[in-house]
């Protein structure tokens, strides 16, 4: 109890070896990533193993998640964006399950670490760059040159466009990380109030009901945030990929 930051601590579980002077360790963060990835794979394979035309409850969960992501891609990046379905679906499911698992007490929330979200956002950023140049060649630079701009302010606009483009992976990663971090700290602090007030005696327990109610409400809010953040991450991925597919203005 007490320290609300303690839940984000990285612990080494066992060592693989050394790279230079840095030890390569299997951490609790890595453990949860493995659990999440294996859990998603196992769930999707088990629920679609016995494919029936009229889906059961579990099968319809996996079908709904596929359709949800597919609709998101089609509506933001068009049908051409469907070739990125594996990427977007993987990102969405990974973040969603990571956020949801993090809500269970005594678990570790991997998306509350910026290194994880930054790695995911950079994957998208680099995919956009590589695919954009591979598909459009130098025409990809049209992304930075809006049409219908007078020539004398064009250099300034190009500068701003480039800055705006570079700021994408930052807002993409910080949004997810900050929301999860802040949410979990708030939960912990309010839960801490309950026990602290309870230590004051009979009147304290009476006062502790207020933070207890708040913790319940906040948990519901965090459930919403966990889903919404995964959705926002997926939809922004689609919007960025759309720029790589259609860089013109």
């Amino acid at each position: 109890m007490g320290d609300p930051i303690h839940q984000f601590q990285i612990q080494n579980l066992f060592m693989f070896g050394q790279m230079g002077s840095n030890p390569i360790a299997f951490t609790n963060s890595a453990l949860f990533m493995v659990i999440i990835a294996l859990g998603i794979i196992a769930f999707l394979m088990l629920t679609t193993a016995r494919r029936s035309l009229v889906p059961g409850r579990l099968q319809s969960i996996s079908e709904l998640s596929y359709e949800f992501v597919a609709d998101t891609i089609k509506s933001t990046a068009g049908t051409e964006g469907m070739k990125f379905l594996p990427l977007v679906f993987t990102l969405f499911m990974f973040i969603l399950v990571a956020n949801l698992i993090g809500l269970i007490p005594y678990t570790f929330t991997i998306t509350s670490h910026i290194i994880i979200t930054a790695a995911l956002a950079l994957t998208v950023f680099i995919t956009v760059l590589v695919y954009g140049f591979w598909k459009n060649g130098l025409k990809f630079f049209k992304l930075f040159v809006p049409s219908g701009i007078p020539i004398y302010i064009l250099p300034l606009i190009v500068f701003i466009e480039v800055l705006s483009f570079i700021s994408r992976p930052i807002s993409h990663s910080v949004r997810l990380f900050a929301n999860m971090l802040a949410g979990h700290i708030t939960l912990k602090v309010f839960a801490g109030f309950v026990t602290m007030l309870g230590g004051l005696g009979y009147l304290g327990w009476l006062g502790a009901t207020l933070p207890l109610v708040l913790v319940v409400a906040l948990t519901a809010l965090e459930l919403l945030v966990a889903f919404l953040q995964a959705y926002v991450f997926a939809i922004l991925t689609c919007i960025y990929l759309n720029d790589a597919i259609h860089p013109g203005h």
């Binding site: 509506s75 800055l163 807002s171 919404l228 959705y231 689609c238 720029d243 203005h249």
Partner: protein, 119 residues
Amino acid sequence: MANGTHEKDELKRKSDEAALSARLKSLGERLRKTGAAPHPEKSVVQSSDPSAIARGFRLSTELVAGVLVGAFIGWLLDRWLGITPWGLIVFLLLGFAAGVLNVIRAAGAGQNPGTSSRK
């Protein structure tokens, strides 16, 4: 006995379903007359809209990210070229402009499927 009631239930369910679909059809018919039925094309666009909360989450970080990137690039230029404080001043302002651009795009982007998010 169990079999008989089961069959009866089945029959009842089927007639219920037929009645329900008939009612739904007539409701759709009446809605179309009043013009309240969702336009098929319009509903596609609406479903592509992120929900309002999701959009709010986007707006909150877009501006900050632009300013941060501008400040960071300006600071790096200052260090490399020794032009303190001009790099920071210029790029902080440019970053602010980029942040505002991000926010405008976040508020209006992603509505036309198959086209660029820039307008």
